[in-house]
């Protein structure tokens, strides 16, 4: 049955994060809305970051968390906590008065878990609370977010893809197959219905025939903010070498001094001062989105504009300053670029990303139509005279995988660097998550090529074989032990009254399970690659839902089955990687002998 014939489905989305989180959520929701048009979406968001959601025509309602009216007066000691509670209760009434069909808590925070627990809903995804107030996480992708993403372990599935898959899987289970929406794109210049009125005139299109490049000069966090002097140098290089380009600086009022510094520095080098315009501190969301949508490129560090541009289909070059986890929260879509610090050997700090490297990467990206990526980025840097800069950075280009390859965004390295151990672990964990929660994966090692392997990776991977084998054995033994406990307890008339031999048997099985769990945790501490198994095991165990020993032991057995499946995947990846570096036999017919003849015996 097609889901299109179903009645409306009331869906409450809790997104109490920042603007960038809101934009990522909107992108995932757009994909779901296209496939399930009967979704009637209400979004709960913070008043400060509600602007984007308010401009989305297919969002039914936006409910703002009243930070200014409720929280700040308490912090400023103008209101008592009791007064704050009363106000919060009033605010909650429209949210809790009618049960929702679906509650999506996409905030993954303590606060949002309490809100989720207060709201009645048929299906809940994300964090919530049990009756005793403890944190509760039921769905698989949320287990993964809590243990792997929030645990800071390597993985490379983009958050937008995780949220989209989490929601679509739940909808498919509960609502049936989606309508056929073809391959309608999620990003669009008309994603928002902007209220521009006369605001557009504030930005003078001095020359609409030129290519406008937007530079977001600040970020929400100091550690992610690239120095203004470097942005100034990029702007100078860009304007002096590309007279067809114009630059518009974007940012909040707090970024004003940075913008002034950039304009002043550029003005000293570029005679045509009209080629750089500052809109810093002059835009609301509507004008900001309008400008970003009209720009050919947005250059920025890790901040909300990256997601805004992605939503609007404007290409992005992200400067990965401050080591952001760009593979999780970087620009989404095709053809975006990320310039990140090169890997160090661990004994030295990563080198700063230079303006020359950022400019060179942009120049390569913006002329793809001409070189069609037939020349390497290394050659391109060389042609510009900045060969030395390429060794200090990693450059990635985004690509949406074909559906047959699993879909989702992937960050392809344009520099043929050997793969780092953490990136290898990221491949393994992302593959494991897909196997657990999507039920389908491409072949093991699909995105790992022989050319990426290197001795230091093999040095790390080879000893892991033993860990993987031990992990498999622990999980198998624990699965069987929990299974025995289930069999034993499900046959008992009472879990409270039992004869002595039964009691001893149950106690022995319980003790054995505890020992196996401790063994798994100790093993997980031996190597960063196996560490996530310990983290996810703890979270899965914490979220067992059974109320009787029989139910809990059955669920425990299922947990160890899942962990065991993950351990087998790790072992398969290790084997695949080690096989990649084995010497390959050469066909005699392909050998050219020094005497000029072909063929002969190989040695």
């Amino acid at each position: 049955m097609s889901a299109s014939s179903e009645k409306r489905v009331r869906c409450l989305v809790v997104q109490l994060g920042r603007l960038g989180d809101n934009l990522q959520s909107l992108m995932a929701l757009r994909a779901a809305k296209q496939l399930y048009p009967q979704l009637e979406i209400t979004l709960v968001t913070r008043d400060r970051f509600s602007s984007a959601a308010k401009r989305v025509p297919w969002i039914e309602k936006v409910i703002e968390l009243p930070t200014v009216d409720v929280l700040l007066p308490i912090l400023e000691e103008k209101d008592s906590r009791e007064m704050g509670l009363a106000k919060l209760s009033q605010w909650l009434i429209p949210i809790v008065e009618n049960p929702w069909d679906v509650l999506l808590n996409w905030t993954y925070s303590e606060a949002s878990s309490f809100l989720s627990a207060l709201v009645p809903a048929r299906i809940k995804l994300g964090y919530t609370r049990r009756k005793d107030g403890s944190l509760s996480v039921y769905d698989g992708w949320s287990h993964y977010i809590q243990s792997v993403l929030q645990g800071g372990f390597p993985q490379n599935i983009h958050l937008t893809d995780i949220l989209t898959t989490q929601l679509l899987t739940a909808l498919q289970i509960h609502l049936g197959d989606p309508v056929d929406a073809g391959n309608a794109p999620v990003s669009s210049k008309s994603f928002f219905q902007l209220d521009l009125k006369s605001k557009e005139n504030l930005w003078n299109w001095k020359d609409p025939t030129r290519k406008w490049i937007g530079i977001q000069v600040g970020t929400g966090q100091a550690r992610k903010t690239w120095p203004a002097a470097k942005w100034a140098r990029v702007a100078e290089l860009l304007l002096s070498r590309h007279p067809d380009c114009r630059i518009v600086l974007l940012g909040e009022s707090k970024d004003q001094s940075r913008a002034d510094e950039i304009v002043e520095a550029v003005s000293k080098k570029i005679t045509d001062t009209s080629s750089i315009v500052s809109m810093v501190g002059k835009t609301d969301f509507d004008l900001w989105a309008n400008i970003v949508g009209r720009c050919q490129w947005i250059l920025a560090s890790d901040t909300a504009v990256v997601h805004l541009a992605g939503v609007l289909g404007t290409r992005v070059l992200e400067v990965g300053h401050g080591a952001p986890r760009f593979w999780e929260t970087g620009p989404y879509g095709n053809g975006h670029y990320v310039v990140a610090c090169a890997e160090t050997d661990g004994t030295t700090l990563p080198q700063e990303i230079s303006a020359e490297a950022v400019y060179s990467a942009w120049a390569y990206a913006s002329t793809e139509w001409a070189h069609r990526r037939q020349i390497s980025i290394e050659s391109h840097f060389g042609q510009l005279g900045w060969s030395a800069e390429i060794s200090k950075v990693r450059v990635f280009r985004t690509k949406i995988r074909p559906t047959n390859d699993g879909g989702g965004v992937v960050y392809e390295s344009l520099i043929q660097n050997p793969i780092r151990a953490t990136d290898w672990a990221g491949l393994v964990w992302s593959y494991t998550a897909r196997a657990w929660y999507c039920g389908w994966t491409p072949p093991v090692g699909h995105e790992l090529e022989r050319s990426q392997t290197n001795p230091s990776l093999i040095q790390i991977v080879r000893p892991l074989q033993e860990s993987a084998d031990v992990l498999i054995r622990i999980c198998d033994e624990a699965r069987r032990t929990a299974g025995s406990l289930h069999q034993k307890t499900s046959k008992m008339k009472s879990e409270k009254i039992m004869d002595l031999s039964e009691k001893n048997e149950v106690q022995d099985l319980g003790k054995k399970l505890l020992e196996l769990d401790q063994l798994l945790q100790r093993l997980a501490q031996t190597h960063p690659v196996v560490q996530p198994y310990g983290a996810i095991s703890q979270i899965l165990m914490h979220n067992l839902r059974g109320e009787s020993l029989a139910e809990i032991s059955r669920e425990t057995s299922e947990v160890y089955q899942q962990l065991g499946q993950g351990a087998v995947i790790l072992r398969d990846w290790i084997r695949h990687t080690l096989n990649l570096v084995k010497p390959v036999a050469i066909q005699p017919s392909n050998v050219i002998r020094l005497d000029g003849q072909t063929g002969g015996k190989t040695t």
Binding site: T67, L85, A86, L92, I93, F114, L118, R129
Partner: protein, 42 residues
């Protein structure tokens, strides 16, 4: 449900004390966590 509008707004029926306590506990937790987040962000 223990979390319908009237109960959350504080108009809980006296004989539903357990529900009231649960709602009260969640509300207090929600408020405290929100305040903690703001403090941490500063």
């Amino acid at each position: 449900m223990a979390t319908d509008g009237k109960r959350v707004s504080g108009e809980l029926i006296e004989d539903q004390r357990k529900d009231q306590e649960e709602v009260s506990m969640l509300l207090k937790g929600f408020l405290q966590a929100l305040l903690d987040e703001i403090q941490e962000a500063k």
